[in-house]
Protein backbone atom coordinates (compact mmCIF):
# COMPACT_ATOMS: atom_id res chain seq x y z
CA UNK A 1 0.00 0.00 0.00
CA UNK A 2 1.28 3.43 -0.89
CA UNK A 3 -0.06 6.90 -1.53
CA UNK A 4 -0.49 6.23 -5.24
CA UNK A 5 -2.72 3.19 -4.73
CA UNK A 6 -4.63 4.83 -1.87
CA UNK A 7 -5.45 7.71 -4.21
CA UNK A 8 -6.46 5.14 -6.82
CA UNK A 9 -8.84 3.39 -4.41
CA UNK A 10 -10.43 6.68 -3.39
CA UNK A 11 -10.95 7.86 -6.97
CA UNK A 12 -12.24 4.42 -7.96
CA UNK A 13 -14.90 4.62 -5.31
CA UNK A 14 -15.74 8.34 -5.34
CA UNK A 15 -19.02 9.36 -6.96
CA UNK A 16 -17.71 12.80 -7.92
CA UNK A 17 -14.36 14.17 -9.08
CA UNK A 18 -12.02 15.14 -6.26
CA UNK A 19 -9.38 17.87 -6.26
CA UNK A 20 -5.91 17.32 -4.84
CA UNK A 21 -7.01 19.27 -1.77
CA UNK A 22 -10.09 17.13 -1.30
CA UNK A 23 -8.03 13.97 -1.71
CA UNK A 24 -5.64 15.24 0.95
CA UNK A 25 -8.58 15.87 3.28
CA UNK A 26 -10.05 12.43 2.72
CA UNK A 27 -6.73 10.79 3.55
CA UNK A 28 -6.10 13.03 6.55
CA UNK A 29 -9.52 12.23 7.94
CA UNK A 30 -8.96 8.50 7.46
CA UNK A 31 -5.63 8.68 9.22
CA UNK A 32 -7.19 10.55 12.12
CA UNK A 33 -9.79 7.80 12.55
CA UNK A 34 -7.14 5.09 12.26
CA UNK A 35 -4.99 6.78 14.90
CA UNK A 36 -7.93 7.24 17.23
CA UNK A 37 -8.74 3.57 16.87
CA UNK A 38 -5.19 2.80 17.98
CA UNK A 39 -4.11 1.45 14.60
CA UNK A 40 -0.61 1.99 13.34
CA UNK A 41 -0.21 4.41 10.47
CA UNK A 42 2.74 4.68 8.14
CA UNK A 43 4.76 7.75 9.08
CA UNK A 44 4.88 9.10 5.54
CA UNK A 45 1.11 8.88 5.29
CA UNK A 46 0.63 10.63 8.61
CA UNK A 47 2.36 13.72 7.26
CA UNK A 48 0.71 13.76 3.84
CA UNK A 49 0.55 17.15 2.09
CA UNK A 50 -1.23 18.36 -1.02
CA UNK A 51 2.02 18.32 -3.01
CA UNK A 52 2.47 14.63 -2.16
CA UNK A 53 -0.98 13.96 -3.58
CA UNK A 54 -0.15 15.88 -6.74
CA UNK A 55 2.92 13.68 -7.18
CA UNK A 56 0.92 10.53 -6.41
CA UNK A 57 -1.62 11.54 -9.07
CA UNK A 58 1.20 11.82 -11.61
CA UNK A 59 2.49 8.38 -10.66
CA UNK A 60 -1.01 6.95 -10.84
CA UNK A 61 -1.44 8.38 -14.33
CA UNK A 62 1.69 6.56 -15.45
CA UNK A 63 0.64 3.38 -13.68
CA UNK A 64 -2.64 3.33 -15.60
CA UNK A 65 -0.89 3.83 -18.94
CA UNK A 66 -1.40 0.23 -20.09
CA UNK A 67 -4.96 0.03 -18.76
CA UNK A 68 -8.32 0.88 -20.30
CA UNK A 69 -8.95 3.16 -17.33
CA UNK A 70 -7.35 6.59 -17.12
CA UNK A 71 -7.07 9.55 -14.83
CA UNK A 72 -8.91 12.62 -16.03
CA UNK A 73 -8.71 16.13 -14.68
CA UNK A 74 -11.90 18.08 -15.33
CA UNK A 75 -13.60 20.93 -13.55
CA UNK A 76 -10.78 21.18 -11.03
CA UNK A 77 -11.13 17.58 -9.94
CA UNK A 78 -9.66 14.20 -10.78
CA UNK A 79 -11.65 11.13 -11.66
CA UNK A 80 -11.18 7.74 -13.21
CA UNK A 81 -12.83 7.23 -16.58
CA UNK A 82 -12.67 4.62 -19.32
CA UNK A 83 -10.45 5.53 -22.27
CA UNK A 84 -12.40 6.91 -25.24
CA UNK A 85 -11.25 4.15 -27.61
CA UNK A 86 -13.05 1.56 -25.50
CA UNK A 87 -16.42 3.26 -25.73
CA UNK A 88 -17.63 0.97 -28.53
CA UNK A 89 -17.31 -2.01 -26.21
CA UNK A 90 -19.32 -0.36 -23.46
CA UNK A 91 -22.36 0.44 -25.59
CA UNK A 92 -24.18 -2.84 -24.79
CA UNK A 93 -24.00 -1.96 -21.08
CA UNK A 94 -25.58 1.44 -21.46
CA UNK A 95 -29.10 0.53 -22.50
CA UNK A 96 -31.17 2.21 -25.15
CA UNK A 97 -31.64 5.62 -23.52
CA UNK A 98 -28.81 7.97 -24.31
CA UNK A 99 -28.42 11.13 -22.28
CA UNK A 100 -29.82 13.98 -24.38
CA UNK A 101 -27.18 15.94 -26.23
CA UNK A 102 -27.28 19.71 -26.23
CA UNK A 103 -29.19 21.22 -29.16
CA UNK A 104 -27.54 23.64 -31.58
CA UNK A 105 -29.19 26.72 -30.01
CA UNK A 106 -28.12 25.50 -26.57
CA UNK A 107 -24.53 25.00 -27.73
CA UNK A 108 -24.34 28.44 -29.33
CA UNK A 109 -25.82 30.10 -26.26
CA UNK A 110 -23.47 28.16 -24.04
CA UNK A 111 -20.49 29.21 -26.15
CA UNK A 112 -21.37 32.88 -25.68
CA UNK A 113 -21.80 32.41 -21.93
CA UNK A 114 -18.62 30.35 -21.60
CA UNK A 115 -16.37 33.02 -23.15
CA UNK A 116 -18.13 36.11 -21.82
CA UNK A 117 -19.28 35.20 -18.36
CA UNK A 118 -20.83 36.60 -16.33
CA UNK A 119 -23.30 37.76 -18.95
CA UNK A 120 -26.91 38.89 -19.06
CA UNK A 121 -29.65 37.51 -21.26
CA UNK A 122 -29.83 40.73 -23.28
CA UNK A 123 -26.10 40.57 -24.02
CA UNK A 124 -26.38 36.97 -25.22
CA UNK A 125 -29.31 37.91 -27.42
CA UNK A 126 -27.33 40.80 -28.90
CA UNK A 127 -24.68 38.33 -30.06
CA UNK A 128 -26.97 35.58 -31.27
CA UNK A 129 -29.68 37.80 -32.74
CA UNK A 130 -32.44 35.61 -31.32
CA UNK A 131 -34.29 35.28 -28.04
CA UNK A 132 -32.66 32.82 -25.66
CA UNK A 133 -35.09 32.68 -22.73
CA UNK A 134 -36.14 29.08 -23.25
CA UNK A 135 -32.60 27.92 -23.94
CA UNK A 136 -31.30 29.58 -20.77
CA UNK A 137 -33.95 27.81 -18.75
CA UNK A 138 -32.93 24.45 -20.22
CA UNK A 139 -29.26 25.09 -19.49
CA UNK A 140 -30.04 26.13 -15.91
CA UNK A 141 -32.26 23.05 -15.45
CA UNK A 142 -29.44 20.82 -16.63
CA UNK A 143 -27.05 22.46 -14.20
CA UNK A 144 -24.64 23.59 -16.91
CA UNK A 145 -25.08 27.28 -16.12
CA UNK A 146 -26.45 29.09 -13.09
CA UNK A 147 -27.53 32.57 -12.07
CA UNK A 148 -24.50 34.39 -10.73
CA UNK A 149 -26.30 37.47 -9.44
CA UNK A 150 -27.40 40.70 -11.01
CA UNK A 151 -25.52 43.10 -13.25
CA UNK A 152 -24.74 46.53 -11.87
CA UNK A 153 -26.56 48.29 -14.70
CA UNK A 154 -30.04 49.83 -14.98
CA UNK A 155 -32.73 47.21 -14.62
CA UNK A 156 -30.28 45.03 -12.70
CA UNK A 157 -30.69 42.03 -15.04
CA UNK A 158 -29.77 38.53 -13.94
CA UNK A 159 -26.33 37.41 -15.07
CA UNK A 160 -25.31 33.86 -15.85
CA UNK A 161 -22.12 31.86 -15.63
CA UNK A 162 -21.07 28.28 -16.30
CA UNK A 163 -20.85 25.68 -13.54
CA UNK A 164 -18.34 22.96 -12.73
CA UNK A 165 -20.63 20.52 -14.50
CA UNK A 166 -20.02 22.54 -17.67
CA UNK A 167 -16.28 21.95 -17.35
CA UNK A 168 -16.85 18.25 -16.72
CA UNK A 169 -19.26 17.89 -19.61
CA UNK A 170 -16.70 19.27 -22.03
CA UNK A 171 -13.66 17.73 -20.36
CA UNK A 172 -12.13 21.09 -19.48
CA UNK A 173 -10.12 21.75 -16.39
CA UNK A 174 -10.56 25.51 -16.19
CA UNK A 175 -12.18 28.15 -18.38
CA UNK A 176 -8.72 28.98 -19.70
CA UNK A 177 -8.75 25.60 -21.44
CA UNK A 178 -11.55 26.76 -23.74
CA UNK A 179 -10.42 26.71 -27.37
CA UNK A 180 -9.31 30.16 -28.67
CA UNK A 181 -10.03 31.62 -25.29
CA UNK A 182 -7.69 34.57 -25.76
CA UNK A 183 -9.20 35.65 -29.03
CA UNK A 184 -12.83 35.25 -28.07
CA UNK A 185 -12.41 36.94 -24.75
CA UNK A 186 -11.10 40.09 -26.38
CA UNK A 187 -13.65 40.47 -29.16
CA UNK A 188 -15.70 43.64 -28.88
CA UNK A 189 -19.28 42.77 -28.02
CA UNK A 190 -21.83 44.36 -30.32
CA UNK A 191 -23.75 47.03 -28.52
CA UNK A 192 -27.46 46.82 -28.37
CA UNK A 193 -27.88 49.25 -31.25
CA UNK A 194 -30.00 46.76 -33.13
CA UNK A 195 -33.64 46.54 -32.30
CA UNK A 196 -33.12 43.33 -30.40
CA UNK A 197 -35.75 40.66 -30.08
CA UNK A 198 -36.45 41.98 -26.61
CA UNK A 199 -38.82 44.44 -28.14
CA UNK A 200 -41.15 41.71 -29.25
CA UNK A 201 -40.58 39.31 -26.42
CA UNK A 202 -43.82 37.38 -26.59
CA UNK A 203 -43.71 36.64 -30.26
CA UNK A 204 -40.13 35.51 -30.13
CA UNK A 205 -40.45 33.51 -26.98
CA UNK A 206 -43.25 31.54 -28.52
CA UNK A 207 -41.19 30.93 -31.55
CA UNK A 208 -38.23 29.71 -29.58
CA UNK A 209 -40.41 27.53 -27.41
CA UNK A 210 -42.00 25.98 -30.47
CA UNK A 211 -38.60 25.50 -32.04
CA UNK A 212 -37.21 23.75 -29.03
CA UNK A 213 -40.04 21.30 -28.94
CA UNK A 214 -39.08 20.30 -32.41
CA UNK A 215 -35.48 19.61 -31.44
Amino acid sequence: MNLKTIVEAILFKSVKPLSAIELTQVIKRSIKTLTEDGKEVDEILAKVKEQDIVQALDELRDMLESHSIMLQEAGGGFRMVSRPEYTDYLAPLLGPVKPPRLSQPALETLAVIAYRQPISRAEIEAVRGVAVGGVLETLVDRGIIHVAGRADVPGRPLIYETTNLFLQHFGLNTLDDLPNVEELKRVQLPEKHQPTPEEQPELIDNHVAANQKEN
Binding site: L107, E108, T196, L203
Partner: protein, 248 residues
Protein backbone atom coordinates in the same frame (compact mmCIF):
# COMPACT_ATOMS: atom_id res chain seq x y z
CA UNK B 1 -30.21 33.47 -56.98
CA UNK B 2 -30.91 30.50 -54.80
CA UNK B 3 -32.22 27.50 -56.57
CA UNK B 4 -35.27 26.54 -54.59
CA UNK B 5 -35.72 23.37 -56.55
CA UNK B 6 -32.51 21.91 -55.26
CA UNK B 7 -33.62 19.22 -52.84
CA UNK B 8 -31.11 20.33 -50.23
CA UNK B 9 -32.71 23.74 -49.90
CA UNK B 10 -35.91 22.48 -48.39
CA UNK B 11 -34.04 20.45 -45.84
CA UNK B 12 -32.08 23.44 -44.65
CA UNK B 13 -35.24 25.49 -44.18
CA UNK B 14 -35.60 24.64 -40.53
CA UNK B 15 -32.03 24.61 -39.39
CA UNK B 16 -31.17 28.30 -39.20
CA UNK B 17 -30.68 29.36 -35.63
CA UNK B 18 -31.71 32.91 -36.39
CA UNK B 19 -31.31 35.73 -38.89
CA UNK B 20 -27.54 35.90 -38.41
CA UNK B 21 -27.23 32.20 -39.09
CA UNK B 22 -29.22 32.61 -42.29
CA UNK B 23 -27.01 35.53 -43.38
CA UNK B 24 -23.87 33.51 -42.78
CA UNK B 25 -25.34 30.71 -44.87
CA UNK B 26 -26.07 33.09 -47.75
CA UNK B 27 -22.60 34.59 -47.58
CA UNK B 28 -21.05 31.14 -47.65
CA UNK B 29 -23.30 30.17 -50.55
CA UNK B 30 -22.18 33.23 -52.51
CA UNK B 31 -18.59 32.39 -51.70
CA UNK B 32 -17.69 35.86 -50.53
CA UNK B 33 -15.88 37.12 -47.50
CA UNK B 34 -18.08 38.62 -44.78
CA UNK B 35 -16.30 41.96 -45.23
CA UNK B 36 -17.09 42.05 -48.96
CA UNK B 37 -20.78 41.25 -48.88
CA UNK B 38 -22.91 42.80 -51.58
CA UNK B 39 -25.82 44.06 -49.59
CA UNK B 40 -28.17 44.19 -52.56
CA UNK B 41 -27.67 40.59 -53.50
CA UNK B 42 -27.79 39.30 -49.95
CA UNK B 43 -30.90 41.34 -49.18
CA UNK B 44 -32.72 39.93 -52.18
CA UNK B 45 -31.80 36.38 -51.25
CA UNK B 46 -32.70 36.95 -47.63
CA UNK B 47 -36.12 38.33 -48.53
CA UNK B 48 -36.66 35.54 -51.02
CA UNK B 49 -36.05 33.06 -48.27
CA UNK B 50 -38.57 34.75 -45.98
CA UNK B 51 -41.24 34.84 -48.65
CA UNK B 52 -40.52 31.21 -49.38
CA UNK B 53 -41.19 30.45 -45.72
CA UNK B 54 -44.46 32.30 -45.98
CA UNK B 55 -45.42 30.40 -49.09
CA UNK B 56 -44.98 27.25 -47.11
CA UNK B 57 -47.21 28.70 -44.41
CA UNK B 58 -44.38 28.74 -41.91
CA UNK B 59 -44.43 31.54 -39.43
CA UNK B 60 -41.57 33.97 -39.88
CA UNK B 61 -40.17 34.88 -36.50
CA UNK B 62 -39.96 38.54 -35.54
CA UNK B 63 -36.20 38.52 -35.30
CA UNK B 64 -35.92 37.62 -39.00
CA UNK B 65 -38.09 40.62 -39.84
CA UNK B 66 -35.98 42.92 -37.69
CA UNK B 67 -32.86 42.02 -39.65
CA UNK B 68 -34.82 42.24 -42.90
CA UNK B 69 -35.68 45.85 -42.14
CA UNK B 70 -32.05 46.58 -41.33
CA UNK B 71 -30.99 45.06 -44.65
CA UNK B 72 -33.56 47.08 -46.56
CA UNK B 73 -32.41 50.22 -44.81
CA UNK B 74 -28.77 49.56 -45.67
CA UNK B 75 -29.74 48.80 -49.25
CA UNK B 76 -31.76 52.01 -49.60
CA UNK B 77 -28.89 54.00 -48.14
CA UNK B 78 -26.41 52.60 -50.60
CA UNK B 79 -28.75 53.49 -53.45
CA UNK B 80 -28.65 57.16 -52.53
CA UNK B 81 -26.23 59.32 -54.37
CA UNK B 82 -22.99 59.61 -52.49
CA UNK B 83 -23.43 63.29 -51.64
CA UNK B 84 -26.83 62.59 -50.16
CA UNK B 85 -25.52 60.05 -47.72
CA UNK B 86 -25.51 61.53 -44.30
CA UNK B 87 -22.08 60.80 -42.88
CA UNK B 88 -19.08 59.83 -44.95
CA UNK B 89 -19.65 56.34 -46.25
CA UNK B 90 -16.71 54.84 -44.51
CA UNK B 91 -16.21 51.26 -43.44
CA UNK B 92 -14.87 52.28 -40.09
CA UNK B 93 -17.73 54.68 -39.44
CA UNK B 94 -19.38 53.92 -36.14
CA UNK B 95 -22.79 54.92 -37.41
CA UNK B 96 -22.67 52.93 -40.60
CA UNK B 97 -25.40 50.29 -40.30
CA UNK B 98 -23.64 48.10 -42.87
CA UNK B 99 -20.50 48.08 -40.79
CA UNK B 100 -22.55 47.35 -37.67
CA UNK B 101 -24.14 44.37 -39.31
CA UNK B 102 -20.81 43.05 -40.56
CA UNK B 103 -19.33 43.41 -37.11
CA UNK B 104 -22.23 41.54 -35.63
CA UNK B 105 -21.88 38.79 -38.22
CA UNK B 106 -18.16 38.40 -37.59
CA UNK B 107 -18.81 38.23 -33.89
CA UNK B 108 -21.61 35.73 -34.28
CA UNK B 109 -19.52 33.53 -36.54
CA UNK B 110 -16.76 33.31 -33.96
CA UNK B 111 -19.17 32.00 -31.38
CA UNK B 112 -20.81 29.65 -33.84
CA UNK B 113 -17.38 28.17 -34.54
CA UNK B 114 -16.69 28.03 -30.82
CA UNK B 115 -19.95 26.14 -30.35
CA UNK B 116 -18.78 23.63 -32.92
CA UNK B 117 -15.50 23.23 -31.05
CA UNK B 118 -17.37 22.67 -27.82
CA UNK B 119 -19.58 20.09 -29.47
CA UNK B 120 -16.50 18.15 -30.58
CA UNK B 121 -15.14 18.27 -27.05
CA UNK B 122 -18.44 16.99 -25.69
CA UNK B 123 -18.36 14.09 -28.13
CA UNK B 124 -14.89 13.08 -26.96
CA UNK B 125 -15.90 13.51 -23.34
CA UNK B 126 -18.98 11.39 -23.88
CA UNK B 127 -16.68 8.51 -24.66
CA UNK B 128 -14.81 8.82 -21.40
CA UNK B 129 -17.11 7.23 -18.91
CA UNK B 130 -16.87 7.24 -15.15
CA UNK B 131 -18.14 4.31 -13.13
CA UNK B 132 -21.76 4.39 -12.13
CA UNK B 133 -22.23 5.38 -8.51
CA UNK B 134 -22.33 2.42 -6.17
CA UNK B 135 -25.99 2.00 -5.17
CA UNK B 136 -24.92 1.01 -1.66
CA UNK B 137 -23.30 4.42 -1.22
CA UNK B 138 -26.44 6.20 -2.28
CA UNK B 139 -28.85 4.21 -0.14
CA UNK B 140 -26.89 4.82 3.00
CA UNK B 141 -27.11 8.56 2.75
CA UNK B 142 -30.88 8.96 2.50
CA UNK B 143 -32.71 6.52 4.77
CA UNK B 144 -33.52 6.99 8.40
CA UNK B 145 -34.73 9.88 10.49
CA UNK B 146 -31.54 11.75 11.20
CA UNK B 147 -31.18 13.61 14.44
CA UNK B 148 -34.82 13.41 15.55
CA UNK B 149 -35.83 12.64 19.14
CA UNK B 150 -39.21 11.52 20.40
CA UNK B 151 -39.64 14.92 21.97
CA UNK B 152 -39.39 16.51 18.51
CA UNK B 153 -42.23 14.33 17.39
CA UNK B 154 -44.41 15.35 20.32
CA UNK B 155 -43.57 19.01 19.86
CA UNK B 156 -44.54 18.77 16.22
CA UNK B 157 -47.83 17.20 17.14
CA UNK B 158 -48.53 19.83 19.79
CA UNK B 159 -47.86 22.52 17.24
CA UNK B 160 -50.54 21.05 15.03
CA UNK B 161 -53.00 20.98 17.91
CA UNK B 162 -52.14 24.54 18.82
CA UNK B 163 -52.66 25.64 15.26
CA UNK B 164 -55.97 23.83 15.10
CA UNK B 165 -57.11 25.61 18.26
CA UNK B 166 -56.11 28.96 16.82
CA UNK B 167 -58.29 28.22 13.86
CA UNK B 168 -61.19 27.74 16.25
CA UNK B 169 -60.34 31.01 17.93
CA UNK B 170 -59.99 32.64 14.57
CA UNK B 171 -63.67 32.31 13.86
CA UNK B 172 -64.44 34.43 16.89
CA UNK B 173 -61.83 37.06 16.31
CA UNK B 174 -62.86 37.29 12.73
CA UNK B 175 -66.26 38.42 13.95
CA UNK B 176 -65.29 40.38 17.00
CA UNK B 177 -61.86 41.92 17.19
CA UNK B 178 -60.67 42.55 13.65
CA UNK B 179 -62.52 43.45 10.53
CA UNK B 180 -61.26 43.86 7.03
CA UNK B 181 -62.49 47.45 6.79
CA UNK B 182 -60.71 48.32 10.02
CA UNK B 183 -57.48 46.85 8.65
CA UNK B 184 -57.96 48.73 5.39
CA UNK B 185 -58.07 51.97 7.38
CA UNK B 186 -54.97 50.91 9.30
CA UNK B 187 -52.93 50.13 6.19
CA UNK B 188 -54.05 53.33 4.45
CA UNK B 189 -52.93 55.33 7.46
CA UNK B 190 -49.55 53.60 7.53
CA UNK B 191 -48.99 54.28 3.86
CA UNK B 192 -50.07 57.91 4.24
CA UNK B 193 -47.51 58.46 6.99
CA UNK B 194 -44.67 56.26 5.81
CA UNK B 195 -45.14 56.30 2.04
CA UNK B 196 -44.21 52.65 1.85
CA UNK B 197 -44.28 49.69 4.19
CA UNK B 198 -42.34 46.47 4.00
CA UNK B 199 -44.48 43.35 3.83
CA UNK B 200 -42.56 41.72 6.67
CA UNK B 201 -42.99 44.81 8.90
CA UNK B 202 -46.72 44.86 8.34
CA UNK B 203 -47.07 41.31 9.55
CA UNK B 204 -44.29 41.18 12.13
CA UNK B 205 -46.31 42.67 15.01
CA UNK B 206 -49.25 40.35 14.42
CA UNK B 207 -49.21 37.05 16.21
CA UNK B 208 -52.83 36.02 16.06
CA UNK B 209 -53.71 34.03 13.04
CA UNK B 210 -57.10 35.59 12.56
CA UNK B 211 -55.54 39.03 12.41
CA UNK B 212 -53.02 37.88 9.84
CA UNK B 213 -55.83 36.66 7.64
CA UNK B 214 -57.83 39.86 8.00
CA UNK B 215 -54.77 42.03 7.32
CA UNK B 216 -53.92 39.99 4.28
CA UNK B 217 -57.47 40.25 2.94
CA UNK B 218 -57.36 44.02 3.51
CA UNK B 219 -54.13 44.19 1.56
CA UNK B 220 -55.62 42.23 -1.33
CA UNK B 221 -58.65 44.51 -1.35
CA UNK B 222 -56.49 47.65 -1.48
CA UNK B 223 -54.49 46.19 -4.35
CA UNK B 224 -57.70 45.33 -6.15
CA UNK B 225 -58.92 48.90 -5.66
CA UNK B 226 -55.59 50.07 -7.12
CA UNK B 227 -54.81 52.11 -4.03
CA UNK B 228 -51.67 50.10 -3.37
CA UNK B 229 -49.03 48.40 -5.36
CA UNK B 230 -46.67 45.68 -4.21
CA UNK B 231 -43.34 44.78 -5.73
CA UNK B 232 -40.00 43.21 -4.99
CA UNK B 233 -36.71 44.90 -5.69
CA UNK B 234 -35.04 41.56 -6.25
CA UNK B 235 -36.40 38.06 -6.38
CA UNK B 236 -35.22 37.33 -2.87
CA UNK B 237 -35.86 40.66 -1.25
CA UNK B 238 -38.75 41.71 0.93
CA UNK B 239 -42.01 42.76 -0.67
CA UNK B 240 -42.58 46.51 -0.69
CA UNK B 241 -46.09 47.90 -0.31
CA UNK B 242 -46.49 51.38 -1.75
CA UNK B 243 -49.38 53.78 -2.21
CA UNK B 244 -50.40 54.71 -5.73
CA UNK B 245 -50.27 58.47 -6.19
CA UNK B 246 -53.51 59.88 -7.47
CA UNK B 247 -53.68 63.21 -9.20
CA UNK B 248 -56.11 65.36 -7.32
Amino acid sequence: MIDYDTPGWRITLQVFEGPLDLLLYLIRKNEVDIYDIEIEKITDQYLAYLSHLEEMDLEVAGEFLVVASTLIYIKSRSLLAVEQQMPEYDEADENDPRWDLIRQLVEYKKFKDAAENLEQKALVQEKMMPRDPDPAFKAQAVTGLGNVQVIDLIKAFEKIIERAREKEEFREVFDDKFTVSEKIQHIRKLIRIEGRVMFSTLFSQISIRGEIVVTFLALLELIRLKQLTVFQEGSFSDIVIEGIQKSE
